[in-house]
């Protein structure tokens, strides 16, 4: 399935390795503050609520609601040229974090703010899985 995947690939690095390893294993991993429990997105050097440096990676339930979305028509990268319009979405996870993603398996006209969604993990390149969201219904 990686043949012909012309869109930009994420570039895992040391600081994001738990996220991408988690995605490959079917888990949506996020940073969480150990002392106060604050979840974070995308990553933070310290807790965004209490500035503690004691941060762990923990699995999100992967459930959330559609905060907002856009159907993108402009081609910003040739890899998206065949796909426009495509959706970009913000999903409010139940853990209290708003993540950037795409919604899959929902027709453009059926996208609605408030839609209940669940994370799915799509292989896009060797060893790289991208978390996207599908309707729970």
């Amino acid at each position: 399935m990686t043949d012909g995947y012309g869109k930009p690939l994420p570039v895992p690095d040391e600081g994001s390795r738990p996220f991408f390893d988690g995605a490959a294993a079917g888990r949506l991993m996020l940073q969480r503050c150990v002392p106060c429990g604050q979840w974070m997105w995308p990553v933070a050097p310290r807790c965004i609520a209490c500035m503690s440096g004691d941060i762990e990676w923990a699995p999100s339930a992967g459930l959330g609601t559609l905060y907002s979305f856009s159907l993108v028509h402009q081609v910003y990268h040739p890899g998206f040229a065949e796909e426009v319009p495509y959706n970009v979405a913000f999903v409010d996870l139940d853990e209290g974090v708003r993540v950037t993603t795409n919604v899959v398996g929902v027709a453009h006209q059926d996208l609605r703010v408030g839609l209940r969604l669940q994370a799915v993990f799509e292989p896009i390149a060797e060893g790289i899985f991208l978390p996207r969201f599908r309707s729970v219904a």
Partner: protein, 386 residues
């Protein structure tokens, strides 16, 4: 800070738009020379230089050396993105008010447009990013258009705001631009034209999005006393404010709907001793039509969620009850970040706007906005001595 203790004494604007073959430094130099000439001040009388930090690598404190300013008592680059016009003005209030400097020049300049390149390409250069930040492009999230589109979509779903109501902002501003010789876009526009313009990122059409321009604007600020002895009618700075709500990734906050304009406006209005009902015209930061609509709500001109109905009757345009972005703004005139609304506010407050002059023009509200509606600044200007 004594209300109105400083005033704007000079304004310089270069040619703006698709002006090629010049650097940001070159534009900045011309704008400053024009602003000093406008005020009737000589270069050696300047003791403060405030550089508007933007995406140009040339916009930094080195401008002093390049331009030849000597023995400055105040020199800095400031950036809070599109709200920088207000943060610069707030700093100028303090340094002039405390007699650290008397004549402060502030300047915005940039030259992102390349001949043969698109406006969209101007600020969209690929950066090498890794880790979690590299997810944005993997998801197809590029640049400001998509972020503002999502804020506008959210507003539409919460309050029933329509694309046609956003279009009313664009149409009103085009009507103003048609009366402004400096405006890049001066052909007539209707709601139908707005609706027919191509989608960039739904729900934003092309005509919901600002221009990109090369050029510069410089403003000279001094004490109110000094300003009264200079060439131009002083424009008094009655108050300034800032707000940065933050936490755009926590689900209990939504700066795209409840923007910093609310808190920033309150601070500036309190400093100036005015309220929303006192303004004769508004010059609001307009990277997108939606920005104008949500800023009007958060400043309290109408209730949250009612911005769409508020703007759709032509109220903002020529002859309307709340003249807004009277030079065409960044949507139709020129894109100089917060110096677009600031420059037009000065022209209007002075009464020098020619066929687009708003009357009365005693009290003018100026806004700045940056990030994805993350940073906000407000300036209250008055033609009348406080």
């Amino acid at each position: 800070m004594t209300r109105g203790s400083i005033a704007i004494a000079g304004l310089g604007m270069t040619e703006m738009g698709k002006v090629y073959g010049r650097t940001a430094t070159d534009f900045a130099a011309e704008a400053i020379a024009l602003a000093l000439d406008d005020a009737g001040l000589a270069m050696h009388e300047v003791d403060g230089l405030l550089v508007h930090g933007n995406l140009s690598p040339e916009m930094n404190a080195n401008l002093q050396l390049v331009l030849g300013f000597r023995d400055l008592s105040v020199l800095s680059t400031m950036s809070a993105f599109g709200s920088t016009s207000a943060t610069l003005m707030q700093y100028a209030e303090h340094v002039i008010g405390s007699a650290q400097a008397e004549v402060v020049v502030m300047v915005y300049a940039d030259a992102p447009l390349q001949q043969g390149g698109s406006a969209g390409a101007a600020y969209a250069a690929e950066r090498r990013v890794t880790g979690m930040d590299s997810l944005d492009h993997a998801y197809g999230f590029y640049g400001a258009n998509i972020g503002y589109a999502m804020a506008a979509r959210r507003h539409m779903e919460l309050y029933g705001t329509t694309s046609e109501q956003l279009g009313a902002v664009a149409v009103a501003q085009r009507q103003w631009a048609m009366r402004n010789q400096r405006a890049q876009m001066r052909t007539p526009m209707t709601i139908a034209d707005h609706q027919a313009s191509r989608w960039v990122a739904e729900p934003l059409h092309l005509l919901d999005c600002c221009l990109v321009s090369n050029g510069a604007v410089a403003v000279v600020v001094t004490s109110a006393v000094r300003a009264r002895s200079l060439r131009q009618p002083p424009v008094y700075v009655l108050g300034t404010g800032q707000a940065a709500p933050g936490d755009s990734r926590r689900t209990d906050r939504e700066p795209g709907i409840h923007t910093g304009a609310a808190a920033s406006g309150k601070r500036a209005f309190a400093a100036a001793g005015v309220g929303p009902g006192d303004f004769d015209l508004l010059e609001l930061y307009d990277c997108y039509t939606y920005t104008v609509l949500v800023t009007i709500e958060d400043y309290g001109f109408c209730a949250k969620g009612e911005g769409g109905a508020f703007v759709e009757d032509g109220r903002l345009g020529p002859g309307g009850s709340l003249p807004t972005n009277t030079g065409g703004g960044q949507l139709s005139a020129y894109y100089m970040w917060g110096f677009t609304p600031l420059s037009e506010a000065i022209v209007q407050a002075r009464g020098q706007a020619g066929e687009r002059q708003v009357d009365p023009h005693e009290l003018v509200l100026v806004s700045g906005n940056g990030g994805f509606l993350n940073y906000h600044g407000t300036i209250v200007l008055s033609r009348r001595e406080p």
